[in-house]
Amino acid sequence: MQTHDAKRVAIIIETPMKRRLVAAIEEAGVSGYSILPVEGGSGRSGPWSREGQVGRAGGMSQVICVIRPDRLDTLLEAIFSVVERHIGVVTVSDCQVLRAERF
């Protein structure tokens, strides 16, 4: 089956920042992404869990974008402008996609 090279960018970010991240991604011309719930985790700012979370102000979400390799840099810059001052993790990995015309 015919597949095409692509990049998979995954960003874990605080839920109150989600809207802003999505806006930045869209401004960078990327209109395809998915948001996944994150149940808990730990990082430099300590451990947390969605259930029984202190104040429920936050929680984290994961945003996943699959894009054509040549658009990676634009996207990363857009993402970085949002996550810069905030906690969160950004990973990029190689992948192949079916139906490349979609991206």
Binding site: M17, R50, Q53, V54, G55, A57, G58
Partner: protein, 328 residues
């Protein structure tokens, strides 16, 4: 003072408080007892809807008068001013930097709706009336404190406060779900009046206290987890602030309430609003606008210290004071 001890005892042995205590104990003992996030949110929507609706019905019974307007304005002013007092107190009692101190201060200008609901519930069991529009005052006090906090930060020159407040954040704060539901159901209650209340009272009146019990159980779990996770990060100075500030706030609220000529119940509720600290709307706003402030500090203070203090000792204390102030 006699009345205070009697009331404090009744309060402490009410199912509401005991449920909260159970939650804290379960969390401290690391039990895996917890509420699904969706259930906790559903309970809070129910409480907001019920309290807003009943407030609206009460106002429709007694009609709108000038007092509503002046009390609303007083609430907004209180919410905007209290952060400055909190900020001063923090600077004296603790060695928090400006940013963290301002962020904490913002929480104490804003309000905790569950503390408010617990206040109304004590009033009801004491057979005391209160002005229905206090619900609207609660909603009005949610947001102004956030502005004061951001002003305090930018006044420090660390960075520009205005740039932190984009239009997006403005809308998020003013149209956050809790405020919209509270105000919305208040208006609905006002429009439909007793007629409407009769239709749905077996949903929003009779089971109300029971639902509040379960909700406080969950709040207890959440507060207990916060306390457990923050062991160490809470200094004695912070602890002192978490208990002193609500008392200071309540005192200011009492003066304002008396000046406004509110009933004993109304004064109590204004004291409770001033004394309580936000743990939903303000933290979310702070994560967006002031990410460098440590949520471990402001959440533990407002939810782990001030909230339980108000719930257990604060409310009876404030009620005793409200009775003295109003001669009620």
């Amino acid at each position: 003072m006699d009345g205070f001890f009697a009331l404090a005892l009744t309060n402490l042995s009410s199912p509401l408080i005991l449920c909260f205590v159970l939650g804290v104990a379960a969390a401290l003992a690391r039990s895996d007892l917890n509420f699904p996030e969706a259930a906790a949110k559903a309970l809070s929507l129910y409480l907001l809807f019920a309290i807003g609706f009943k407030g609206g019905v009460a106002v429709s019974d007694h009609g709108i008068d000038l007092a509503l307007g002046t009390t609303l304005i007083a609430g907004i002013v209180l919410s905007a001013l209290l952060p400055f007092i909190a900020f001063g107190l923090l600077r004296v009692l603790t060695n928090l930097d400006r940013t963290n101190a301002a962020a904490v201060a913002g929480h104490y200008g804003s309000i905790s709706i569950v503390t408010f609901v617990a206040g109304t519930s004590v009033l009801e069991s004491q057979g005391l009336m209160y002005e229905g529009y206090m619900v609207a005052v609660a909603a009005a006090m949610e947001a102004p404190a956030i502005l004061s906090a951001l002003w305090l930060i930018s006044a420090g020159g660390a960075s520009n406060g205005k740039s932190r407040m984009d239009a997006h954040l403005w809308r998020e704060i003013l149209l956050n779900g809790s405020i919209v539901l509270l105000i919305g159901s208040f208006v609905i209650g006002f429009i439909t009046g007793q007629e409407g209340l009769k239709e749905i009272s077996s949903f929003i009146v009779s089971p109300f206290k029971g639902v509040l019990c379960l909700f406080l159980l969950d709040m207890g779990i959440v507060a207990g987890r916060g306390l457990r996770n923050s062991r160490g990060s809470i200094t004695l100075g912070l602890l002192a602030f978490g208990i002193l500030m609500p008392i200071v706030g309540a005192a200011i609220g009492a003066v304002a309430g008396a000046a406004l000529g509110l009933s004993t119940g109304g004064v109590l509720l204004l004291m409770v609003l001033s004394a309580s600290a936000s743990y939903i709307a303000v933290p979310a706003a702070m994560r967006v606008a002031v990410p460098e402030a440590d949520p471990g500090i402001y959440l533990t203070l407002s939810l782990g210290i001030t909230f339980p203090f108000n719930l257990t000792i604060g409310i009876p204390l404030y009620l005793a004071a409200a009775r003295i102030v109003t001669g009620g």
